[in-house]
């Protein structure tokens, strides 16, 4: 890959981060009044709003499962979230992301508690700067907790990748565009189970293992932030 930009200078990345450093993350739970649960998340230049509706009876009826709830996550990028205007509406990419996020969430929601119901998760990307599926899933998880939905774990996502031959955590925009590989994963931090794993680009087995370990480490850091954000909101509520 021919690039004009040097992605790593003097051991530091373009935005001055170390190889195993995350972008700054801000999480706020319960920001919307109409939704059962919601979350606003800023992750570097990403701005994400997630809302949870339900559990409610699934419509159309044929989508209902008499034994468990179905999970519908809808990932959507705002027209103004990228440099060139994005054509609104679902496209191939956002449908894929919606599907993988739905499946990741389905694995940790205790769906048996709500037969015939659907749990709808809406993820809106307001501002995008690489790693929106991770940011979206992390926000969706926080919104699920806020909605009071029974969960086996609070999922969390983070990416690792390879730029100029080095394995780094949480790719930024240029790193994503001009890097060699991107590996977004989502885990259930309590058990360490992997809920989502995708890869773009090429990694050797060794590099892959290293990237996976790094991403899991990143996930665990973010999981702490998630827990802190939810506790902060409800402890404040308690004090009135």
């Amino acid at each position: 890959m021919k690039t004009e930009i040097k992605l790593i200078k003097n051991g530091k990345r373009l935005d001055g981060r170390k190889n195993d450093e995350l972008r700054p993350i801000k999480i706020e739970a319960g920001v919307l009044h109409r939704a059962e649960g919601s979350c606003y998340l800023e992750w570097g230049g990403n701005k994400v709003l997630a809302a949870v509706y339900g559990p409610r009876e699934a419509v159309p009826r044929h989508t209902q499962n008499p034994l468990r709830a179905i999970v519908n996550a809808r990932y959507n990028m705002a027209a103004f979230s990228v440099d060139d205007r994005k054509r609104p509406g679902p496209d191939r990419r956002s449908r894929e992301i919606s599907k993988v996020i739905s499946e990741a969430l389905e694995n940790i929601i205790i769906t048996e508690k709500f037969p015939r119901a659907s749990i709808d998760v809406s993820i809106e990307i307001l501002d995008a700067e690489a790693g929106t599926r991770c940011a979206g899933l992390t926000a969706a998880a926080e919104a699920l907790v806020d909605a009071g939905i029974p969960l086996k774990d609070i999922p969390v996502a983070c990416a690792a990748g390879k730029i100029e031959g080095e394995i780094v955590l949480d790719l930024g925009k240029e790193e994503d565009n001009f890097g060699d590989a991107d590996l977004p994963i989502a885990i259930a931090p309590r058990t360490g189970e992997i809920l989502l794993l995708q890869m773009d680009g090429h990694l050797t087995q060794k590099e892959f293992d290293k990237a996976l370990d790094l991403a899991i480490k990143g996930c665990k850091t973010i999981a702490e932030l998630q827990k802190k954000a939810i506790l902060e909101k409800y402890q404040k509520n308690m004090e009135g």
């Binding site: 059962e36 559990p55 015939r116 909605a147």
Partner: protein, 226 residues
């Protein structure tokens, strides 16, 4: 149990071992350990570990008294929203009127509010409600407010202590549905007062000695009126 604050737990938080305690509401067991499954407040008695939910829908239980809003009148039944995940069915056999087939709209229409009892919850979570019990009827007039369903036990209080306090001092008629809907009827000022008090209880639902605090507050206010 005096001045400590209650502990808030989040899903997947480790609460204990099944060797020591039994897993109660809002928890699940994995590999012999008890974990919280919902966001809530930890409440452990000598036998069980429970998590009282802070958020979420009303989970209907047979025999609960609820306030429902009619969604739709069908030919021999009504669909009623009781703030649960599923709409509830009210069959014509379960009302006190003699309704002819297809004439349901003469008695209850979309938007009407009713006080009802949960008759049945089956394994598929199909809900049925009934109006055939004491003091159940279609609501006319009054005010309807909504609270978190998980706060309802606090609003009612131990042996209805809290709610009878509010009724006594505000001279209002109050019906608290287990689904978090509350109906209040009385003089304008009194209703306002009752709503304020209920909102306060909701806000401070987790503090100890709330009944006494509310009583003091109500007493003080009623003196000011005299």
């Amino acid at each position: 149990m005096n001045k400590q604050t209650r502990e808030i737990v989040i899903p997947s938080q480790l609460l204990g071992d099944i060797k020591n305690k039994k897993a109660g509401h809002g928890t699940f067991i994995e590999n012999g350990k008890i974990y919280a499954e919902i966001l809530g407040v930890l409440s452990a008695d000598s036998e069980h570990i429970n998590v009282i939910p802070l958020r979420g829908r009303y989970d209907p239980i047979q025999g609960d008294f609820v306030i429902g809003i009619v969604i739709e009148a069908m030919s021999s039944s009504w669909l009623v929203d009781i703030n649960a995940a599923y709409p509830a069915l009210l069959h014509v056999n379960e009302v006190q009127w003699d309704v002819e087939f297809g004439e349901t709209e003469r008695y209850l229409n979309a938007g009407d509010t009713i006080m009802a009892k949960v008759l049945q919850v089956d394994s598929e979570k199909k809900l049925q409600i009934t109006l055939k019990d004491r003091n159940l009827y279609k609501v006319k007039g009054g005010n309807l407010i909504s609270v978190e369903p998980s706060k309802v036990p606090r609003i009612i209080g131990k042996k209805a202590s809290m709610i009878s306090l509010i009724k006594k001092y505000t001279r209002s008629r109050i019906f608290v549905g287990q689904n978090g809907r509350i109906w209040i009827e009385g003089e304008g000022q009194d209703v306002q007062k009752a709503i304020e008090i209920i909102e306060l209880i909701q806000k401070e639902a987790l503090s100890y000695g709330l009944t006494n605090k509310i009583e003091d507050l109500l007493k003080k206010d009623s003196k000011e009126v005299h």
